[in-house]
């Protein structure tokens, strides 16, 4: 039996300890905001925050996060009003929206680490998160907006 802490809540798991965290979140815990996009840490759609780091849940096993705090998009802010979420809405960032939870979690981790990233730092930090609709210009602007106060 493995015990996990997700969005401040204890969750138990008695299955395969190697199961990727992504599928525990989605299929077991019902936290479907975290998305499957590639399964190989290539696209960032499954990005969650573990302790303070953005990690790809598709290549992180449930046993890897025992004793650590996992935060998903559902737990980023109690009312969904994290500065990054607000900036996203203000600039109408999403198109299809599927990658955006991962983008938002990556941006939140970036700002936690570097509250005032410059243009190049934003582009570098967000380069692991693919948006096939091509919302990059707005993502970049929204991260900048979130860093300067929404």
């Amino acid at each position: 039996m493995i015990t996990l802490k997700i969005n401040g809540q204890q969750k138990n798991w008695d299955g395969d300890p190697d199961l990727p965290l992504l599928w525990f979140l989605r299929d077991e815990a019902g936290l479907t905001g975290t998305k499957y996009g590639c399964g190989q840490a290539l696209c960032g759609a499954c990005t969650v925050i573990v302790d303070k780091q953005a990690v790809r849940a598709c290549v992180t096993s449930v046993s890897d996060v025992v004793g650590r705090e996992v935060t998903t998009i559902e737990g980023l802010h109690p009312t969904g009003d994290h500065a990054v979420q607000k900036a996203w809405r203000q600039l109408n960032v999403p198109q299809c929206g599927f990658c955006q939870a991962g983008q938002i979690m990556q941006a939140a981790a970036l700002l936690n680490d570097n509250p005032k990233p410059n243009h190049d730092q934003i582009r570098e930090a967000m380069a692991g998160n693919i948006c096939r609709c091509g919302c990059y210009q707005r993502i970049e602007n929204a991260v900048h907006l979130a860093s300067t106060g929404v």
Partner: protein, 774 residues
């Protein structure tokens, strides 16, 4: 009584009418279904000319349009107005835009409007095929009529209650007002009475004066799913979870048309969470939507099912496509393009004109297969029980999915419910519902709800790829540098090959995308289509054949400019020629995106205008540093006009940077300019992805790529520095035209032309890849 439904059950979906198929009457079972259900009224066909200044091809689509307000609008006693969104949301904003049109016309307050997604039912809602950049152009007028009908019914109910003539009352911002007596009643209080009113005749409807619009054309309203998307509660196909649901991942034949020769699931049984493994039979691969067959692994979690699937040992019989190899196939296409093909357009005598030309410039342009790689890979949930089926999934064609699931299971369409989730990107891939059929078949077999999840590798390797093509253009010039001859041969396996075995010529809906509709003013023109056999499933990909055509035609314009020492923008305008409506009398079937030519002609004045606008706003001709270059391209597609300028920098190691993109679009009358801007911004990224990186290649019949490492797309660190968008203000009564796709085609040639301006290197084979490093 009015005819508020225009169904045409004989009309086929998916362009089968262009090719020979056996099951031509498959939609005839729909006849009368909606009438029996009592949702709609039977009445004479309405005459559209009186209702709008233009006609569209909407009524030629399967089931046409429905304009009954009682189908699309519901008003609760508390005043909340629910409007049905009957098209699929894949990022274009249509789930917001179409209901917004209804709200505008009925004077509903948007903050008191809720959206309900329609399930698949085209008799009730009209055509639901969300593709071809058609939603706004086909539904602007019908949605306005629905809103106006609802407004009229509310006004009539209020007038009766007050005992005043209906002409004295007016709906304003969610209430009806009698200004003479300063009386007002909210929509909620009127709802029950209004519902008893008969639906007014469409002919008598008075539409709002556009100067009174509050929402249309303003771009002030965010998409309805915006908040849900930012907090993780927006529901996509994969987010559907049912009690007792099983998870399936399928091993499909790696070669199109292949079959299972032997199947050993014993290793999969050792995977934790494994439940069972099933061998599926293969369907004929040429079928347009049917699954490929293979073997399915069922498990408690998607992760376990994937692990089990990867452990299954299958020996495949590859069949006739097992030798498909991309380099050899390219040589075949090139050889075909150098010989005459089926003549599709002929003006003057191109052969004589080329022979007599002072100079002939020839360009051969190659574009490999592309994969859609929407961020959400195909996925669907099905629950089949007895002779009933319910589907949940990200499908672009809800009505088509219903029809195809019913047909596959052998049950009546009325017994199939298709729930449309949000689509995590579509780009044409999700016009095919094979993944929903897979879920339905497995659910029937297992007697339980099943989710079928495609892995990214499944998506890249076994989807419906964009075609592979060679476009060969020969331009003959006279002594003054004027182009007098233009021969364009296009060779590519056709989408029609998925409907009819052995189809080797492109269908009208492919040749009409930038080949026969080429707008240049040239005396001698010939367009030809030599044959090409398909060895993989070819499908629709955002903007389809316009990608290779714009690449070829707009590259050739710049090549002619170079050869005659002229500015590429001036050359482009010279070739477009005088402002005129292009006449294409020699073209037998000018598809014109399904639109009547009277309403949607090829208007070179509009094409010139986007070129001039983007040249002005985008600073064409500005001086740029050494190693930088500007490129321009313009293209009409989906009956819209788009021109793009790209500025690049290429360093001495060949590293490419896109500094700036400027795009002008004329899409006629528009609804939501903010979403048009986002579509054009995204089109630049998709155009850049395919130009820089896009290549699916085959060896031994198998796709060699599998994920974002070997099929890369543009990431933020390579994205353009800035993308500016300019929308041409529409003239009065200019019909709306496409937005979702037309931004893509001109991007790649503008980029390629910019690279030429920066480096002198002319790229004729995409992707750019490492070509600049040499």
């Amino acid at each position: 009584m009015i005819m508020n439904i225009r169904t045409n059950p004989k009309k086929l979906r998916g362009f089968e009418h262009y090719v020979k198929v056996d099951n031509v009457s498959r939609r005839s079972i729909l006849k009368g279904l909606g009438l029996a259900g009592g949702f709609v009224l039977a009445a004479p066909v309405m005459s559209r000319p009186a209702l709008a200044a233009y006609q569209t091809g909407a009524d030629k689509m399967p089931h046409g349009t429905v304009v009954d307000p009682r189908v699309f609008v519901a008003i609760a006693p508390d005043g909340i107005v629910t409007i049905v969104a009957h098209r699929a949301e894949m990022g274009t904003g249509v789930r917001t835009s179409l209901p917004m049109i209804v709200a505008e016309e009925m004077e509903a307050d948007w903050s008191r409007v809720r959206i309900q997604q329609a399930h698949g039912d085209e008799v009730k809602f009209g055509n639901q095929d969300t593709d071809g950049s058609r939603s706004t152009r086909h539904y602007l007028i019908p949605m306005r009529q629905i809103g106006a009908s609802a407004r009229s019914m509310l006004e009539t109910a209020a007038a009766k209650r007050w005992g005043v003539p209906a002409a004295e009352v007016k709906a304003v911002n969610h209430e009806v007002v009698h200004s003479a007596t300063s009386r007002r009643i909210g929509f909620g209080d009127l709802a029950a009475d209004a519902a008893k009113e008969s639906v007014p005749s469409v002919e008598g409807l008075k539409l709002k004066d556009p100067k009174d619009f509050r929402y249309l054309g303003k771009g002030q309203i965010s998409v309805v799913d915006l908040r849900d998307i930012t907090v993780g509660t927006a529901r996509y196909g994969a987010d559907v979870r049912l009690p007792g649901m099983k998870y399936a991942v399928i091993a499909r034949p790696p070669v199109t048309g292949g079959k299972v020769a032997s199947f050993d699931g014993s290793a999969a049984m050792k995977v934790s969470g494994y439940q069972e493994v099933m061998a599926g039979s293969a369907w004929p691969w040429r079928s347009s939507v049917q699954p490929l067959g293979g073997g399915a692994v069922i498990a408690r979690k998607t992760g376990d099912a994937t692990k089990g699937r990867n452990a299954v040992k299958i020996v495949w019989d590859d069949g006739p496509n097992g030798k498909y190899e991309s380099a050899a196939y390219r040589a075949e296409l090139e050889a075909a393009a150098r010989k005459p093909g089926l003549v599709l357009r002929k003006e003057g005598d191109v052969e004589a004109a080329l022979k007599g030309a002072d100079k002939v410039i020839t360009g051969e342009y190659y574009l490999p297969h592309l994969a859609h790689v929407a961020m959400e890979p195909p996925v669907a949930v099905a629950n089949v029980s007895g002779d009933k089926a319910e589907i949940w999934g990200p499908v672009q064609s809800a009505g088509g999915t219903r029809e195809d699931v019913a047909k596959t299971l052998g049950i009546p369409e009325a017994n199939v419910t298709v729930n449309v989730t949000l689509l995590g990107g579509g780009f044409g891939r999700k016009s095919k519902c094979d993944f929903a059929i897979e879920a339905a078949l497995l659910s029937k077999e297992l007697g339980a709800p099943v989710k079928v999840q495609w892995t990214r590798e499944d998506d890249v390797r076994t989807g419906f790829l964009h075609t592979v093509s060679v476009e060969r253009i020969e331009a003959g010039l006279d002594k003054s540098g004027k182009v007098t001859a233009w021969r364009h041969r296009s060779v590519a396996p056709t989408i029609a090959s998925t409907f009819a075995a052995g189809a080797k010529n492109q269908a009208p809906f492919e040749i009409g995308m930038g080949l026969v509709d080429m707008p240049f003013e040239i005396a001698n023109v010939q367009c030809e289509n030599p044959e090409a056999a398909a060895h993989h499933r070819i499908g629709w990909f955002r903007s389809v054949s316009n990608i290779p055509r714009a690449f070829a035609v707009q590259s050739m314009v710049a090549e002619i400019a170079k050869a005659t020492n002229r500015d590429p923008k001036d050359m482009l305008l010279e070739l477009i020629g005088s402002p005129r409506i292009v006449k294409l009398d020699s073209v037998k079937d000018l598809w014109n995106y399904g639109e009547p030519y009277d309403s949607y002609p090829i208007d070179t004045a509009r094409l010139r205008k986007v070129v001039e606008l983007v040249a002005d706003k985008g600073g064409w001709g500005r001086s740029v540093p050494k190693g930088h270059g500007l490129g321009i391209a313009a293209h009409r597609s989906f009956v819209s006009y788009v021109a793009t300028i790209v500025e690049v920098a290429v360093d001495d190691k060949g590293k490419l940077t896109v500094l700036r993109v400027d795009t002008a679009i004329d899409c006629g009358t528009y609804v939501n300019p903010e979403r048009i801007q986002s579509q054009i911004e995204g089109a630049a990224i998709m155009g850049m992805s395919l130009a820089k990186h896009g290549a699916i290649t085959f060896k031994d019949g198998k796709v060699q790529q599998g994920n974002f490492d070997d099929f890369p797309v543009i990431r933020m660190d390579e994205a353009p520095g800035v993308t500016n968008v300019y929308i041409v203000p529409p003239g009065p009564d200019t019909p709306p035209s496409g937005v979702g796709e037309p931004g893509v085609p001109p991007f790649a040639p503008a980029l390629i032309n910019a690279i030429f301006a920066a480096t002198g290197k002319r790229i004729r084979a995409m992707p750019i890849g490492k070509q600049l490093e040499a």
